[in-house]
Amino acid sequence: MNFVMPDFFPAAAEIFLLGMACVILLIDLVVGDSKRWLIAMLTQVTLVGCAAITVYTADGQVVLTFNNMFVDDLLADFLKLLVYVSVAVTLIYSRGYLVARALDKAEFYLLALFATLGMMVMISAAHFVTIYLGLELMSLSLYAMVALDRDSARATEAAMKYFVLGAMASGFLLYGMSMLYGATGTLEIGGVAQAIYNGVANEKVLVFGLVFIVSGLAFKLGLVPFHMWIPDVYQGAPTAVTLFIGSAPKLAAFAMTMRLLVYGMFEVAEQWQLMLMVMAVLSMALGNLAAIAQSNLKRMLAYSTISHMGYMLLGLISGVASGDKHFALNAYSAAMYYTVAYVMMSLGTFGTILLLSRAGFEAEHLDDFKGLNQRSPWFAAIMGILMFSMAGVPFFIGFFAKFSVLLAVVDTQNYWLAVTAVFFALIGAYYYLRVVKLMYFDAPTDTAPIKASLDMRLMLSANGLAVALLGIFPQTVMGLCSFALLRSL
């Protein structure tokens, strides 16, 4: 029996976060209700600490540890840093909303930290078991966060739906993983790729498992036809939790898709590309068309998420074209860039809803945004930037995100797909620009002054300006994405 001590250094950030979560759990026992800010503060300190550790431990090498279950590469480091930032921004935006609804319990911050840990585990997973456990860790925390407002029947219903459908999706994923294990004889992602490459994998079983894996992933990403939970959960959950679900987990879901499909099954890329292509077209169509009919902003953004994930897929399905693999780096960087851009825009948009909400009032209807320009020209402009960016109007980050995935599609000569994507983007522009019209050309129905803490105002302004500025200099983020992927593939 020989036991080699695993190398803990690459997982230092995860270990630090878990330790801090346990410390906060204990501190919550002794601090009273009046010192809740301490918990929020400690959570932010934890995230900053994690970021410092991740930067410190990043060396650009692909390091495997824990018996090849954990991988630390530049892709993981980059995505983890983005997760910290988006969780930190989420918590800053949420604070006022939570305090006004007496939801600012330590449990919220703890569950957010545990969900972050789950995302980090998923991002760094090199083994099916770790992917699954990270996913469950994240999902379980999210289910509980949705249900945290127990007096709201809608939130409870949303949590129940999310839980039941999420459990089913996990089942799909596990079933697919067990099939892949049967086909290749290993649970390690690298081993699976090796087995497929060497041709020792049983191809029929492999494709059978692949179908289940893709279904499970599609549920987590919220792609048509596995999108049913998204509108109900987005609308039903407290807006702070919707913001949380709509931002950082998208990065983790992207990482999971990359690890499973690209790292594990790149050799059969043309098989899963076809499945994802159907879902991408359906998501772009249904997401954009259904969003037009919504009067609830949260529900509208939920459908917009579905369509955005469809656009993100355009990058993922353009990696390999008729056996030619040299598009891969470009296409996957485009998909990653799209995810990052979407998370930034999503943070800002839900942040604006939180900004306008106050005790007993949720600014979740489109009518609540009427005449925002008269109430606060600055935040109307920020929201305007975000909406233009979401619609893909030139010179905002959303435009370059759409542009790069479309370019990836055109590279593979899939012209009809590019035309379809542009067509649905034009339809989608309608409902984003409608929000702008309401803000600038309608009289306000709600005249209460906007009250928000200084840190939230500053953060939201920074968020909106980042969306605008990174659109003018798109090469910065794009370069980081392709560099991270280049060093990790």
Binding site: P6, E107, E136, S141, A144, L148
Partner: protein, 200 residues
């Protein structure tokens, strides 16, 4: 027929029959008991595959702990069986149709040499003195220590979530305030009210 094959068929038949009864039993308590029977038979199947530790764990954990707890919950909750079974018979033909179609489709894909019994050879017999338990323990705490720790974090999240969702702060929380109790004065404990005596 070898005795081992006979045992396999007997246990499988009991398992299938018990699973069917789980979903058709009228009384939820019976359904739970049939599930216990199902787990027990599955444990027996594992024993024939030389996975004695897993078989025992299945019986001890699922039958002994989880299902008994489940039985308590089922007995304590008032389950309106009639409402649950509403539409069972009217939906049954459709359900059977869909189910059979799925079985047929899966049979088309799965039969043949890839998923047949030939593709999955019987595991080699273990050497004498080989301990299943020891081997599981070894891989669990060495090769799989990372997922093992993660599983413990998942359980911690479950505890935090359960507390967050069920602890009711505020008005309907009844708890003692020890400081107030010890600082109480005698005149606060008992109040003598002067009342005129009533006459019969």
């Amino acid at each position: 027929m070898e005795p081992k094959t006979a045992i396999f068929y007997v246990l499988s038949a009991i398992l299938v029959a018990a699973s069917l009864r789980v979903i058709t039993a009228k009384n939820p308590v019976h359904a739970v008991l049939f599930l216990v029977l199902g787990f027990f038979s599955a444990g027996g199947l594992w024993l024939t595959l030389q996975a004695e530790f897993l078989a025992i764990v299945l019986v001890v954990v699922y039958v002994g702990a989880v299902m008994v707890l489940f039985l308590f919950v089922v007995m304590m909750l008032h389950i309106d069986v009639e409402r649950l079974r509403e539409g069972f018979w009217s939906n049954l033909p459709v359900a059977i149709g869909v189910g059979l179609l799925m079985v047929f489709e899966m049979a088309l894909v799965l039969t043949g040499r890839y998923f047949g019994a030939d593709a999955l050879p019987e595991p080699a017999a273990a050497a004498a003195g080989y301990s299943n338990t020891k081997e599981i323990g070894r891989v669990l705490f060495s090769d799989y220590v990372y997922p093992f720790e993660l599983a413990s974090v998942v359980l911690l999240v479950a505890i935090v979530a359960a507390v967050a969702l069920t602890k009711r702060p505020g008005k309907d929380k009844k708890e003692q305030n020890v400081r107030k109790q010890t600082a109480v004065r005698s005149d606060e404990r008992l109040r003598i009210v002067a009342m005129p005596s009533e006459k019969e």
